[in-house]
């Protein structure tokens, strides 16, 4: 217990003991100086008094012990709770947090966050701030990316945290606020995995049901073309029907892949090698265009645990997206380096960039800005990186280009 807290305990104890017989007993020894001291009656009285004083002292000590025990019990409850708890003063100042709170945010000590204020936390919506001050209990969930937070943390990667903020009352006035935090990242992951498994089964059934009619439509169209169609408009129509059938097939296949992402074998993977392979392949591909693919890939990066084919798919997709954002050509830079023991990869382009509105939706399945896109590319990439316990984030500015930042945990951090 710190000196500060000890003083607090003493103070509270003083309050409790005020008005007890000890306080009343104090003036009594003065009476002992009255004339007639030494008489048997006085001696008996003094003895009685001393006895009762000892009794009272004992009682007080017992009360103190009980109080200390109660405080210890509450402290244990506070410290051992799996729910993170923080107590804030009425002005929002952070007063105390428990062990779970530090663990959830990956903090080494309370000292790292003493400056945090409940009300200057910009991520708390204004309306909620008002409601808390009015004495309401509010609850919300927030997504964290621990690779990108404004405090010092030992955690990395994405996390989902539930906040419950409740006012603390004494005699119907608010004397502070309690913030409870629960880390539901693992639960969410398990739910997501279950959801994907269900989706996978559904999609597999759907693929069978839909692909047969698609085969009939495309087959009839192709057969008609094979038999010879004179009218060019009719021929075009058949070709469009064919193309659209195969686009639909492509969407179904991608969805099936999307739902099967988590069920692949993972091994130690050398990211620089994978990136080199893709860069060389795409350099060849961009050969006839005005797109210049540059690389700044460090060779001695730690291995990551992953599926090489899926990771190849991710970077192929991200680099191709960059190229698609530069219809009139430009530069793409693929950078890879070590960062805090993780592997950090950046794909930076000098393309058109994205608006904030677009940026907020890029990982949504079926969201696309391309004319012929399926809207599944980045959704798949995002899920693959998440399945590798990594993060994929995009930074973009309209007219200035876009940067994709991928962070993959190095082998020793994954606990395999």
């Amino acid at each position: 217990m710190s000196a500060k807290k000890k003083t607090a305990v003493k103070k509270s104890l003083k309050k409790v003991t005020a008005g007890t017989p000890r306080a009343k007993a104090k003036p009594k020894p003065k009476k002992a100086k009255l004339p007639g001291a030494g008489s048997p009656w006085l001696l008996r009285e003094t003895n009685e008094l001393l006895k009762s004083l000892v009794e009272k002292e004992k009682e007080i000590l017992q009360t103190e012990d009980a109080l200390v025990e109660a405080m210890r019990r509450f402290r244990d409850l506070f410290e051992q709770s799996p729910i993170g708890v923080a107590i804030h003063a009425t002005d929002g100042e952070l007063l105390i947090v428990n062990k779970a709170y530090l663990e959830i945010f990956g903090l080494s000590s309370f000292g790292d966050i003493t400056k945090q204020n409940l009300f200057s936390d910009m991520k708390l919506p204004r309306d909620d701030r008002r409601r808390i001050k009015e004495g309401h209990v509010i609850q919300y969930e927030r997504e964290y990316d621990f690779n990108n937070v404004d405090f010092k943390t030992k955690r990395d990667g994405p996390a989902n945290i539930i906040f419950t903020i409740s006012p603390l009352f004494r005699d119907s006035s608010v004397i502070g606020y309690m913030v409870q935090v629960q880390d539901i990242t693992e639960r969410k992951r398990a739910e997501e995995a279950q959801r994907l498994a269900q989706l996978g089964r559904l999609l597999s059934d759907m693929a069978h049901e839909v692909n047969n009619p698609l085969m009939i439509i495309s087959g009839r169209a192709e057969l008609a073309l094979m038999e010879g169609v004179q009218d060019s408009t009719v021929r075009d129509t058949f070709n469009i029907i064919l193309d659209q059938c195969f686009l639909a097939k492509d969407i179904i296949q991608r969805l099936l892949k999307y739902s099967r992402i988590g069920k692949v074998e993972k091994n130690p993977v050398d990211m620089p090698k994978i990136l080199e392979l893709i860069v060389n392949m795409l350099k060849h591909h961009f050969h006839m265009t005005d797109i210049v693919l540059k690389e700044d890939i460090q060779r001695d990066l730690p291995l990551v645990i992953g599926n090489d084919k899926q990771l190849q798919q991710v970077f192929m997709n991200i680099i191709r997206n960059s190229a698609d954002a530069m219809p009139h050509g430009g530069d793409i830079l693929v950078k890879a380096c070590k960062e805090d023991g993780n592997v950090r990869i950046e794909v930076k382009d000098s393309g058109e960039g994205m608006s904030e509105k677009t940026l907020a939706r890029i990982f949504e399945p079926f969201f696309t800005t391309k004319q012929k896109g399926t809207g599944l590319g980045l959704a798949v990439c995002h899920t693959i990186i998440q399945e590798h316990n990594g993060t994929l984030a995009y930074k973009s500015e309209l007219g200035k280009g876009t940067t994709a930042i991928i962070i993959l945990p190095a082998e020793r951090f994954t606990g395999y």
Partner: protein
């Protein structure tokens, strides 16, 4: 195909429209095509008629799956090459035994021109 005997191909698909399309397409390209609307019917055809050069087989059929049909063929020691058509490779991938068939596996909808390429490679 000119001058030579036309190659004989058996098309097995429970979806009649698909079997019809593939049959028509095969005939158009000079093959002799036979149809069977299911595994049991296909086995009957195979027991009556011999000398098929190729089988084009649907995987998902109600009474007998493509995989079950190929197992029967194996039991009957039939070595006719097979092209498997399927709506999704998900189910096939679950069976290790199917690894051998993957090289001749096509996912529906299949471009008939691509199917022709695979047929020509096999026979």
């Amino acid at each position: 195909m000119t001058g030579k005997t036309a190659k004989r191909i058996l098309v097995v698909d429970d979806e009649q429209h698909i079997a019809d399309i593939i049959e028509k397409f095969l005939v158009l390209h000079g093959f002799l095509a036979h149809k069977a609307y299911g595994g049991t019917q296909a086995l009957e055809v195979l027991s009556e008629e011999h000398g098929f050069d190729l089988i084009i087989l649907d995987e998902k059929m109600p009474c007998m799956s493509g995989t079950a049909f190929r197992k029967k063929m194996e039991d009957m020691n039939m070595k006719t090459p097979v092209i498997v058509l399927t709506g999704s490779i998900g189910m096939l991938a679950l069976c290790e035994d199917n690894k051998a068939v993957f090289k001749n596996l096509m996912i529906k909808p299949v471009r008939l021109s691509e199917l022709l390429g695979v047929i020509n490679k096999l026979i």
